[in-house]
C-alpha cells in the first residue's frame, strides 16, 4: 500500500501534514508523534521578528468547531532557524515553514532567511490569517496581492512555494489561478473563516480580538467544496484542509482533488490522531483494492445518477 504523494519536487511518505498553528514548532509533539512519520510539519506562522500575539481569551469553542485569535505569537524566523530547525532536521521532519509578512518585502526577507537555512522543505505563504490587520490578509483577499507576494517569494527562493488561500472570498478558484500564474508549486486551503462569538450575559465578544478564525469539522463541507473548485481551476497540486478528524474526512478532500491534506484542530482533540488516520487510509486502500493513494486524488465521480424520473 503506497501512501506517498508528490508536491512539486517534494516527496511525502504520507499525505498527512500537520497544519500551521496547530502543532507548535513540531517539537512540542516530539514525545507523542514520530515527526518523520508525518508527511510534513507546517510550523506556526513566522514573521521576521518575534511577536507577542493577542491577549486571552484567544480561543472559544463553537458547535463542532472553534474560533481562534492567537495573533500569530511567535519567536521570529531568526530564532526559529537557530533554536528549532536543527532539532526538526535531526528528527527527519519535512518542515514546511508558514511565513507571514506585514509587507511584501518582509515575506521576501523571511523567505531568504529560510532558503539559506538548512532543513526547510517548503514555504507556505500565509496570506490568509484573518486575525491580524497586518497578517497578509490584505494580500490574500486581492488577486494582484496574491500574485505579487507569490512571484516575489518565488524569485527569492528555490524552495517549493505554497500560498495558503483564505476561504473568505467570493471565488477561491481565481486566487488559486493567480497563485499558479505567479509560479506557485502548490496551493493550500483553507485557512480559517472570519467569525465571532458573543457572551450574551456580559454582552461582550468572547475573544479579546473580537473576531477570530473558525476551524474544525463545522467548516469541512465548505472547505471540501473549495478544494474541488481549485482542483478544476489549476494544474498544480492542491493541499486541502478544514475539519479533518479521521481517515474518512481526509479521503473526502483527496477525492475532491487534494494531493495532500493538513490536520489542525483534530490534533488538539487527539494528538494521537496521526496513526489512526494513517491506518484508516491503509485500510481503505486495502478494502477497495487500490495500490496507491495518489490514484484517488480527484477521483470523485460526479456523473449524474440514473434520473429518479423522466
Amino acid at each position: 500500500m503506497d501512501l506517498s504523494v508528490r508536491i512539486g519536487t517534494l516527496e511525502l511518505p504520507t499525505p498527512l501534514i500537520a497544519a500551521s498553528g496547530c502543532f507548535g514548532y513540531g517539537l512540542e509533539y516530539d514525545e507523542v508523534v514520530d515527526l518523520a512519520s508525518l508527511g510534513g510539519v507546517a510550523v506556526k506562522g513566522l514573521f521576521l521578528a518575534e511577536r507577542e500575539g493577542h491577549p486571552p481569551e484567544r480561543i472559544v469553542e463553537t458547535p463542532s468547531g472553534m474560533l481562534n485569535a492567537i495573533g500569530l505569537q511567535g519567536i521570529g524566523v531568526h530564532r526559529f532557524v537557530r533554536e528549532k530547525l536543527p532539532a526538526l532536521r535531526a528528527r527527519g521532519a519535512r518542515t514546511i515553514v508558514n511565513i507571514c509578512g506585514s509587507t511584501l518585502d518582509e515575506y521576501v526577507e523571511v523567505a531568504k532567511v529560510l532558503t539559506d537555512a538548512d532543513g526547510v522543505s517548503a514555504l507556505e505563504l500565509n496570506i490568509s490569517c484573518p486575525n491580524i490587520k497586518e497578517g497578509g490578509i490584505q494580500f490574500g483577499c486581492s488577486l494582484t496581492g496574491t500574485h505579487d507576494v507569490t512571484s516575489a517569494v518565488r524569485k527569492a527562493t528555490h524552495l517549493p512555494v505554497i500560498p495558503k488561500l483564505t476561504p473568505n472570498v467570493t471565488d477561491v478558484a481565481s486566487f488559486a489561478r493567480a497563485a499558479e500564474d505567479a509560479g506557485a508549486d502548490a496551493v493550500s486551503l483553507v485557512n480559517t473563516f472570519l467569525a465571532m462569538a458573543i457572551d450574551v450575559e456580559t454582552r461582550r465578544p468572547k475573544l479579546s480580538n473580537v473576531l477570530g478564525g473558525l476551524s474544525g469539522p463545522a467548516i469541512r463541507p465548505i472547505a471540501v467544496r473549495m478544494v474541488w473548485e481549485c482542483r478544476q481551476a489549476v494544474k498544480i497540486p492542491v493541499i486541502g484542509m478544514g475539519g479533518i478528524m479521521d481517515a474518512r474526512d481526509a479521503l473526502e478532500f483527496i477525492l475532491a482533488g487534494a494531493t495532500a491534506v493538513q490536520i489542525g484542530t483534530a490534533n488538539f482533540v487527539d494528538p494521537f490522531v496521526w496513526g489512526k488516520i494513517r491506518d484508516g487510509l491503509v485500510a481503505y486502500l486495502d478494502r477497495h483494492g487500490i495500490a496507491r493513494i495518489a490514484d484517488l486524488v480527484g477521483a470523485l465521480d460526479t456523473t449524474p445518477r440514473k434520473a429518479v424520473h423522466a
Binding site: 512540542e28 469553542e61 488538539f268 487527539d270
Partner: protein, 275 residues
C-alpha cells in the same frame, strides 16, 4: 519540576462518580498508567463524549491517585465542578461510561522538605491538586498546612482526607458558616504575620486568579516563596495552540506570554504579571 514520561491517552472506564453537592463530583477513572506517572499539580485533558459537539477536551487537575490494597495504582479521580457543558456531561456520567483521558501534563508543584513548611492555599475547586501534594508531603515528612476557602461550609470537601495525612487545616467561608468568615487570604495573612522569618514556608496556591494574585503578593510581602497553579482556557494541553498563555516577567524586558500548559500550570508566584 517536569514529568519525564510522555503523556498517554487512555479510553478510561468510569469506576465511580460521587456527587458531593453544590455541583461538585469526584469522578474516578480507570487510568492507572496515567496515575502512576502523575506528579502533584499535573493535569489531564478529558473528552467527556465522542463526536464533535463539544469538540475540545477540557483540562482537569488529577485529584486522587487511587491504589488497591497492595498499593498498586488502579485509577485516578478528578474533582469536577459544573461550569458549563463538558463539566455537566462529566457530572452526569455513570459507572461503566467511558471518557478519553490524556496525561499527565504540565509542571507540578515542588515537594519541599522540612524544616521548610508547605502551605497549601485552595479556593473552591482549587483544592484539586492538593490531595496528591499532601500525600507527597506526608511521605517526605514535611509539615503541611491547608488554607481552604469556599463560599459556604457545605463546599469544603475532603477535610478528613487531609487530616488523616496530618495536614493542619485553616478554613474560611464567605458566609462564615465554617472557619474564619471571609476569604482564605484572611487566615493566610494572619499566619504569614506569625511566621518566624523569610523562606520558612513555601506557599502553594490554586483557585480563582484574583486569589492567586493576592496569595502571591502576600507571600512576597512576607518574604516567602510561592507557587501558583493558573487556570486558562486550554485547547490542547500540549503546547500546540498557544491559547493558554499567561504573562511572565523576564527581567528588564517587557513581560512575555508563556504557554501555561507546558511552562505551567504551576508557576513561581513572583514571576507572573497580574492585571
Amino acid at each position: 519540576m517536569i514529568d519525564a514520561m510522555p503523556p498517554i491517552d487512555v479510553d478510561a472506564r468510569v469506576i465511580a462518580n460521587v456527587r458531593l453537592g453544590h455541583g461538585y463530583s469526584v469522578l474516578a477513572l480507570e487510568a492507572p498508567a496515567v496515575g502512576e506517572q502523575t506528579a502533584p499539580g499535573q493535569f489531564v485533558m478529558i473528552k467527556a463524549t465522542p463526536g464533535t459537539d463539544p469538540l475540545l477536551r477540557r483540562p482537569f487537575s488529577v485529584f486522587e491517585v487511587l491504589r488497591d490494597a497492595s498499593g498498586a495504582v488502579t485509577a485516578i479521580s478528578i474533582l469536577n465542578k459544573i461550569a458549563g457543558r463538558s463539566t455537566r456531561l462529566l457530572y452526569d456520567l455513570e459507572p461503566g461510561d467511558r471518557v478519553q483521558c490524556l496525561g499527565p501534563l504540565g509542571r507540578s508543584f515542588t515537594v519541599v522538605g522540612a524544616p521548610q513548611q508547605a502551605w497549601m492555599v485552595a479556593g473552591g475547586v482549587g483544592l484539586a491538586p492538593f490531595a496528591t501534594l499532601a500525600e507527597a508531603l506526608a511521605r517526605a515528612g514535611t509539615p503541611a498546612t491547608l488554607f481552604y476557602g469556599a463560599r459556604t461550609g457545605g463546599e469544603l470537601f475532603y477535610l478528613d482526607y487531609f487530616e488523616r495525612l496530618g495536614v493542619t487545616l485553616a478554613l474560611a467561608t464567605e458566609d462564615g458558616s465554617r472557619g474564619a468568615r471571609g476569604r482564605v487570604t484572611t487566615p493566610l495573612e494572619a499566619a504569614l504575620a506569625r511566621l518566624g522569618g523569610p523562606g520558612m514556608a513555601m506557599v502553594q496556591a490554586c483557585g480563582p486568579e484574583p486569589m492567586l494574585e493576592a496569595v502571591a503578593r502576600l507571600a512576597a510581602r512576607h518574604g516567602q516563596p510561592s507557587e501558583v497553579s493558573v487556570e486558562r482556557t486550554m485547547g490542547c494541553g500540549l503546547g500546540g495552540c498557544y491559547s493558554c498563555v499567561v504573562p511572565v516577567k523576564q527581567g528588564a524586558e517587557p513581560p512575555h506570554f508563556v504557554r501555561s500548559c507546558i511552562a505551567g500550570p504551576v508557576f513561581d508566584g513572583a514571576g507572573l504579571v497580574w492585571d
